[in-house]
């Protein structure tokens, strides 16, 4: 007969028994859990779903069986199955941890696959401007400019343009030196203002010209469904004139206003028979006066001078073409004034009868 087990031993025995039980329980539970998830994450479907993970989208092609009673619960179970499949796909994506090792688990989404219409049409590539073409030809690249410039006079870093700029505000000058070759009586302040206005106007002109260069021909002529009355009028006018006979035999549209009377043109025009009687009378009297006068109808001097003027103009145009390509654009050539003066001088020097050399 052994001694009965001591208290400590008894305790140990109890604990061991308990532990054995616990272990068994734990094992049983673990087994249960292992069997469950294989069931719970798997979903059976007739047709495979289509996934677009970039949009978090899943498309189920199976005809849904959630009709009749218990629709809500059937819908919910269908939703649960579909969501389970979608989440399974998302969990299959390459994942990482954002913001270091302890950050949240983050998956890399692929590009969205499902094509959705754009908000606005594709941007059209605009053609390069005149400067861009030139720069490309010469190989000029854009330099990044510093925002501040050292001003020697103020011994400070000042901004390049704007308020308190480096060179001093030119508009506030109380004194402008007359440059060496300039007319002493010329107003330099007005000249500066005029030059600035010209520069601004030229800049604006070039900007609009660049835009026009980028516009396709026929801009505003295609039907867009939202044109104003004026635009439509212009479009119909262009359409009318785009026939082989330039719109001469085009019938007017039902509510189009009648054609405006033709004006201009060098073809023969006949006045109406009973028109302006006073004008007809004066015209006839003028004709009679010319017939009755003794002066010859052709003024030889004037004719010869006109011919000489035309020749000079031709010669000047030939010379001017070569110079114009190199010179500054936009410089206005006072051609009208020059021509007039030259003609008057020549009239004095060359009397009638001078032969063309």
């Amino acid at each position: 007969r052994g001694k009965p087990p001591a208290r400590g031993e008894r305790l140990a025995g109890c604990l061991a028994a308990m532990a054995a039980l616990c272990v068994e329980e734990l094992l049983a539970r673990a087994e249960q859990r292992e069997a469950e998830p294989h069931r719970s994450v798997a979903v059976q479907k007739e047709l495979e779903l289509e996934f677009d993970l970039g949009n978090l989208l899943a498309l189920d092609r199976n005809p849904p069986r959630a009709a009749g009673a218990q629709r809500e619960s059937r819908l919910r179970s269908l939703a649960r199955d579909n969501t389970q499949l979608l989440v399974a796909q998302l969990w299959g994506l390459p994942a990482g941890r954002a913001e270091g090792a302890t950050g949240p688990l983050v998956a890399q989404l692929p590009e969205p696959f499902y094509r959705l219409p754009r908000e606005k049409p594709l941007p059209r590539p605009r053609p390069p401007t005149r400067w861009e073409q030139f720069a490309r030809l010469k190989g000029i690249r854009r330099r990044k400019r510093t925002s501040l410039v050292w001003d020697e006079a103020a011994k400070q870093w000042r901004r390049r343009w704007g308020y308190a700029r480096a060179g001093g505000d030119p508009a506030r000058d109380w004194l402008i030196e007359v440059p060496a070759g300039a007319d002493p009586n010329e107003d330099q302040f007005a000249k500066r203002l005029r030059d600035k206005r010209e520069k601004v106007a030229r800049n604006e002109f070039n900007r609009l010209r660049n835009i026009a260069r980028g516009a396709l021909p026929g801009r505003g002529l295609h039907p867009t469904g939202h044109q104003s009355r004026a635009e439509l009028g212009r479009a119909t006018q262009v359409a009318r004139v785009s026939t082989a006979s330039l719109g001469r035999f085009q019938p007017r549209l039902p509510k189009e206003p009648a054609a405006p009377p033709p004006r201009g043109g060098k073809k023969r025009r006949f006045e109406p028979l009973l028109g302006d009687l006073a004008a007809e009378r004066s015209r006839q009297l003028e004709l009679l006066r010319g017939l009755g006068s003794k002066k010859p109808p052709l003024d030889l001097t004037r004719a010869v001078n006109k011919q000489l003027r035309e020749e000079d103009a031709q010669a000047a145009k030939g010379k001017g073409k070569k110079r114009g390509q190199r010179g500054k654009r936009g410089r206005q050539r006072p051609g009208g004034g020059k021509g007039k003066k030259g003609g008057a001088r020549r009239q004095q020097q060359r009397p009638a009868g001078r032969k063309r050399s």
Binding site: L56, A58, P64, L78, N82, A98, P112, Y114, P117
Partner: protein
């Protein structure tokens, strides 16, 4: 001959912006390669949903199906390309018109009748934070077979998609919108997703009904013509990923490159020059041999 249309609606190209802020504003609205996230206008809707992508209007837009000019005007002014118009009258009770724009003109418009509506407030449980990107699920083969349903699917995806993001926090997938097309009706349900533990990596999903649920019936549609729709779908070539040629990848992740060489004359290949391997006349070689060996023996000794 090309004339500058001075009365065109795109007057921004003639008016230069005077401030940098105005310039940024115009640049944001002009057509771009990668577009901004679409904004939506909600008109006459009972519920006000605070969201950075929604604009709330209550102006005089009476019938979108008859006259679209006021809709287009507001879309242009607010730079929104999606709209939702709610109305109620005897002929069309509980009407909802959902639509989108292309270039500020109506592209697609679908009128839906709401048969049953359960709002956010009616279901009392915790909701997910606003601005969560929802998961979208479309169930039913009607969404593929019927042309109108296909457009509706595209519209709904456009509406509920949210901004396109490169990465997503897996624990933050809380919201799912489920659309079922059945018996001529469309059932829209929103659920909150609960991720439960499962033995493996993929969690088990449990859904809890949250949010608005609608039973919709399709009424009238105003769909864009095929060619206009195709034009709107056009993606710029620059965005297509350029496929790198002559690079292939292994199952293990090793990348292989291919180099294409011209035909080589192997007899004339330039290898390393080793004096000992130099070609010499045969007589010279025997002499060298004899010469070398006594030297060798000397060194050994």
């Amino acid at each position: 001959f090309c004339f500058i249309d001075r009365t065109s609606t795109s007057s921004d190209c003639f008016k230069k912006p005077k401030t940098k802020r105005a310039k940024r504003f115009l640049e944001k609205r002009e057509p771009k390669l990668t577009e901004n996230t679409k904004n939506a206008i909600l008109i006459k809707v009972i519920q006000k949903i605070p969201n950075p992508y929604l604009f709330f209007f209550r102006k005089n837009i009476t019938r979108p199906f008859e006259d679209q000019t006021s809709l287009e005007f507001f879309s242009k002014k607010s730079d929104c390309s999606l709209f939702l118009f709610g109305s109620h009258n005897k002929k069309r009770p509980n009407n909802l018109i959902i639509g989108r724009m292309f270039d500020y003109h109506v592209l697609d418009m679908i009128e839906l009748g709401i048969e049953k509506f359960v709002s956010l407030k009616d279901i009392k449980n915790s909701k997910c934070p606003e601005g969560t990107k929802p998961m979208l699920i479309f169930a039913g083969d009607t969404f593929d077979l019927n042309e109108e349903y296909r457009r509706l699917k595209s519209l709904l995806i456009d509406f509920f998609r949210g901004p396109t993001v490169p990465t997503i926090r897996l624990a933050g997938l809380e919201y799912v919108l489920h659309f079922t097309a059945m018996d001529g009706k469309i059932y829209m349900r929103s659920y909150k997703v609960l991720l439960k533990k499962s033995g493996c990596k993929i969690p088990r999903i449990e859904l809890e009904e949250m949010g608005p649920s609608l039973d919709l019936v399709m009424r009238r549609t105003h769909l864009a013509s095929e060619d206009l729709y195709k034009l709107s779908l056009k993606q710029p070539k620059a965005l297509k990923p350029k496929k790198k040629k002559n690079i292939s990848h292994d199952v293990f992740g090793t990348s292989y490159g291919r180099i294409h060489m011209q035909k080589q004359d192997l007899s004339k290949l330039q290898t390393r020059k080793m004096k000992g391997l130099k070609k010499r006349p045969a007589a010279k070689m025997t002499e060298e041999d004899e010469g070398i060996s006594p030297k060798k023996s000397k060194s050994v000794l």
